[in-house]
Symmetry: none
Subunit: 228 residues, 2 copies
């Protein structure tokens, strides 16, 4: 992880920057800071960052403008920081190219989790691997799944679940762990939700060999297993 992942934090409150820096550095990230939008744009010009954390309310040049400017030249992931009550701005932020937002006050765990999720997704592109098994092909790029040569339509959650299990084949996950990994650290719903999605998946994978891949490990959870 910490192999030189550079993050730029833009906020006019020094205290906030320090807080964010504290937790990001604990995770091994390299952190730079900018106190206003103007400065931020200059720094982005000079240095190649892997991710930008951007407060909306900035002096000189506001967050939206920074966002728009950055997007003209690059696809760096941007996480916006917004104060509660600025909910409306959220939409605007997304339209202008932000990839995620976090509402202040936030928990460091939440921010770190989102940063990591973002980097996993957009960061130093580990070639998104096409997974292939007998009678089953999973392409994360196009989010396409092919069973016995025929494309099968999966819902987003179904796809994410299948892809996660397949990517970590032979490894058992508890329902709790799956909720955390596939649904997200901030989902606290019922464990049985996992069962339902597994069922849907098995059904959609049909009577073919593919339907045998998702295995119930009784008393523990599920795993993806190729078998023999």
């Amino acid at each position: 992880m910490g192999s030189e992942t550079k993050i730029l934090v833009v906020d006019d409150e020094k205290k906030m920057i320090d807080l964010v820096r504290l937790y990001l550095e604990k995770e091994g990230f390299k952190v730079d800071e900018a106190l206003n939008g103007q400065q931020a744009l200059e720094m982005i010009e000079k240095t190649e960052y892997n991710l930008i954390i951007l407060d909306l309310m900035l002096p000189v040049v506001d967050g939206w403008t920074v966002c728009k400017e950055v997007r003209k030249k690059s696809d760096i992931p941007i996480i916006m920081l917004t104060a509660r009550g600025e909910e409306f701005d959220k939409i605007l932020g997304f339209e202008l190219g932000a990839d995620d937002y976090v509402v202040k006050p936030f928990s460091p765990r939440e921010l770190v989790a989102r940063v990591k999720a973002m980097l996993r997704r957009y960061g130093p592109k580990e070639p998104s691997q096409i997974l292939e098994f007998e009678g089953l092909l999973i392409d994360p790029e196009s989010r396409k799944v092919v069973v016995d040569g025929k494309e099968v339509a999966l819902t987003p959650k179904e796809f994410d679940l299948l892809y996660f299990l397949a990517k970590n084949k032979e490894k058992v996950f508890t329902r709790e762990k799956l909720l955390e990994e596939v649904w997200g650290y901030d989902f606290f719903g019922s464990l049985r939700t996992v069962d339902t999605h597994v069922r849907q998946l098995r059904e959609k994978l049909g009577g073919s060999k593919a339907s045998t891949y998702i295995v119930t490990v009784w008393g523990v959870g599920y795993k993806f297993e190729v078998g023999k």
Copy 2:
């Protein structure tokens, strides 16, 4: 399970403590309680906890102070409990070294999930190891057991028992100790239960060399022994 993870819960409302205790103990954690900040600090001094759950509003010494004091000496994960509306305090809490916060009223699942997440991240982690012996392979990640090249299906308890014994090979355990370690500290059933599971295991490990590994130590208990 059973490996003694100790959590200190600090709150001036006994009712709140009981609630938290209920859910944490159900998960196998050992829970201590303190009703005020002063008491909390004394307990932390004497005992080594793996995690602290800390209410902000405390008599004698408040949550912030406790947090600051703890941080002077240790990196124990701290989860803060705050009442809704104390949003502002959240930031302050983080600056003082809290690792996460939960807003009251909270769902027990949420609290437990956060506790576990915290322990996973900061707690000590032992890598799960594949154990291999002549004619027997035990993989805790996939929870697979292979005897003489053929996979054998074990029930959860059988697997846990076998893995525990094998991981601690050459060491004798009384039935009592096994119940505590494999079943959990809160299991108060018959000692004979262990016998039953040992028998099942031996049967499933078949006539091969593997079936000789679980050894009865007469008058004491069982051990896993590779022999010659």
